[in-house]
């Protein structure tokens, strides 16, 4: 069953995002899928594929199909590539549609790690667990005892510091990304953090793990987001304008930590970016909007380099002076991203990309939206995915 016009995203469903209590991740995932099907104007029973993924709280499994009452599915799986999952899921859904494996596939992520009355940071902080004198076991225990117990912030701080040492990148340049994304978030009604910030606010925000300040780090959110992928032909008959899935790729560099390693300097985007853009028949100069995975400000900066928006090592200069904010040179993370919008892993850049490609951005709509790039990053820069989305079926 050839699909000459390719695959498209026909529906987007987003639950309330942020400090949303009272529903577990499974319930949020079910709600997101129903919202996405409603958005598409597709009866829920028309879904014949379901791809699920969950975050820190767990609880999103393939039994979601039963919770939704879906029957006779032709594709059902849990996908896990950490922050690269969303892009991977959409590519698998597109391939399923193109091959005839399935005709309408829902891809969903949900997470509910926040608990009422507990800090967002406590979700992650391993050092807070255990007794007064924690004990650590084996070689992993040695690494934890030496400082690894402070968790993922510390590991990304190693990467950010290496970029700074190698290329002269500064904390203020990271801060420019935080300020730009907050300016976008101020225009996004569903963003969690909407009060404008300045570079001085960034510099004054408390230190999490040098060189990363609080305002370099993403939020933690409860919520669920789903998209419906189907053929472009079918999508044209549904409720919303199709968002064409024009290119996709993954990059898993398998970085080894030893002499000559590129850790902190180059990510999988250096391979997934060119591959996805080649499939879409575009170059980086054609990209109007870039929705880049932003677990940290630094991640945006290194991704911009790897996609070729600027040269390697030039990310700091590229992002300075509000280049990424409203009215800037390049529209990046137009919903505020995970720094200021909401933390739904790769579904944060994916959902905002769909909004922008549809032209639904309201006050934050980018001036041009012919080509929207979606970037996912997982692990400590270990896993990468790229999507090229467009309101147009062909270049």
């Amino acid at each position: 069953m050839p699909q000459p016009d390719g695959a498209a995203i026909a529906g987007l469903g987003m639950t309330e995002l942020g400090k949303v209590y009272g529903t577990d991740a499974r319930g949020l995932a079910a709600r997101a899928v129903r919202l996405a099907a409603d958005d598409a104007g597709l009866p829920l029973g028309d879904l014949d594929g379901l791809l699920v993924s969950g975050g820190m709280s767990g609880g999103v499994e393939i039994d979601l199909a039963a919770a939704l009452g879906l029957t006779d599915l032709r594709m059902l799986s849990k996908v896990q590539s950490f922050g690269a999952t969303a892009g991977a899921m959409v590519s698998y859904a597109a391939m399923a549609v193109l091959s005839g494996t399935a005709t309408a596939v829902a891809c969903v992520f949900a997470d509910a790690p926040l608990r009422e009355g507990r800090s967002a940071g406590s979700v992650y902080r391993r050092a807070d667990r255990g007794g007064a004198v924690p004990e650590w076991h084996g070689l992993n225990g040695y690494t934890a005892a030496m400082g690894g117990r402070y968790g993922v912030n510390t590991l990304y701080a190693l990467a950010a510091r290496r970029h700074m040492e190698t290329y002269g990148t500064t904390s203020e340049q990271f801060g420019a990304i935080a300020v730009a994304q907050r300016a976008w978030a101020a225009r996004n009604p569903v963003a969690q953090m909407r009060d404008p910030i300045t570079l001085a606010d960034h510099q004054a925000s408390r230190m999490i793990a040098e060189p990363l300040h609080l305002l370099d780090c993403c939020l933690v959110s409860n919520g669920g987001i789903a998209v419906i992928v189907t053929s472009a032909e079918r999508a044209r008959d549904l409720a919303r304008p199709p968002v064409h899935v024009r290119g996709w790729a993954q990059g898993h560099p398998g970085t080894r930590l030893r002499r000559d390693s590129a850790f902190g300097l180059v990510t999988g985007a250096a391979t997934s970016g060119p591959a996805a853009m080649k499939m879409a028949g575009i170059t980086v100069d054609d990209v109007d909007v870039a929705e880049l995975y932003d677990c940290y400000t630094y991640t945006v900066l290194v991704s911009l380099e790897d996609y070729g928006f600027c040269g390697k090592g030039e990310g700091g200069a590229f992002v300075a002076d509000g280049a990424l904010g409203p009215g800037g040179r390049l529209a990046v993370n137009t919903g505020g991203g995970q720094l200021s919008g909401y933390y739904m892993w790769g579904f944060t850049p994916l959902s905002e990309a769909v909004v922008q490609a549809r032209g639904d951005g309201g006050d934050r709509q980018a001036p041009r939206n012919d080509v929207v790039l979606v970037s996912g990053n997982g692990g400590i820069l270990d896993h990468h995915s790229t999507l090229v989305l467009s309101p147009e079926a062909t270049p």
Binding site: G121, R125, A127, V133, P134, E135, W136, H137, G138, L139, N140, G141, Y142, T143, A144, A145, M146, G147, G148, R149, Y150, G151, N153, T154, L155, A157, L158, A159, R161, R162, E165, T166, R206, M207, I208, A209, E210, P211, R256, L257, R258, R259, S261, F263, G264
Partner: protein, 128 residues
């Protein structure tokens, strides 16, 4: 800076901690191709060899990068967590006992061993 938690050995790490107890930094060397690897390596990523011997490293390194996590309760630096390149080539996550303001990538380092009353001996690095 905060206290070091107690470190306990397991079967896979016994040679590493035995080495630390006698002031030797133990790393892995592939029995097939001879390349050096970090202590936690399970099989040789270069030749696929699954016999990785424990051998003493020179104990010298250069600083690749470092991070300084903060204790939220006290808003103070907890530790200098470093990623160092051993003279033999492998990188290792470890603690760097130095003023972080004075650190630079490429700085020469040397191993130091600690022998706490409770738990295993362990290596850290200091500016050389």
């Amino acid at each position: 800076m905060t206290d070091v938690p107690v470190i306990r050995r397991d079967d896979a790490s016994a040679a590493f901690f035995d080495g630390a107890a006698r002031d030797e930094l133990m790393i892995r060397r592939c029995g097939s191709c001879g390349r050096a690897h970090a202590p936690a390596t399970a099989s040789c990523p270069d030749c696929g060899g699954d016999r990785l011997d424990w051998v003493p490293a020179a104990g010298t390194a250069t600083l690749v990068t470092w991070a300084v996590p903060y204790e939220k309760a006290t808003a103070s630096p907890a530790v200098v967590f470093g990623l160092v390149e051993l003279a033999e080539g492998p990188w290792m996550h470890t603690r760097v006992d130095a003023d972080p303001a004075a650190l630079r990538a490429g700085a020469p380092l040397a191993v130091r061993f600690h022998h706490p009353d409770d738990g295993e001996s362990f290596p850290t690095f200091v500016p050389a």
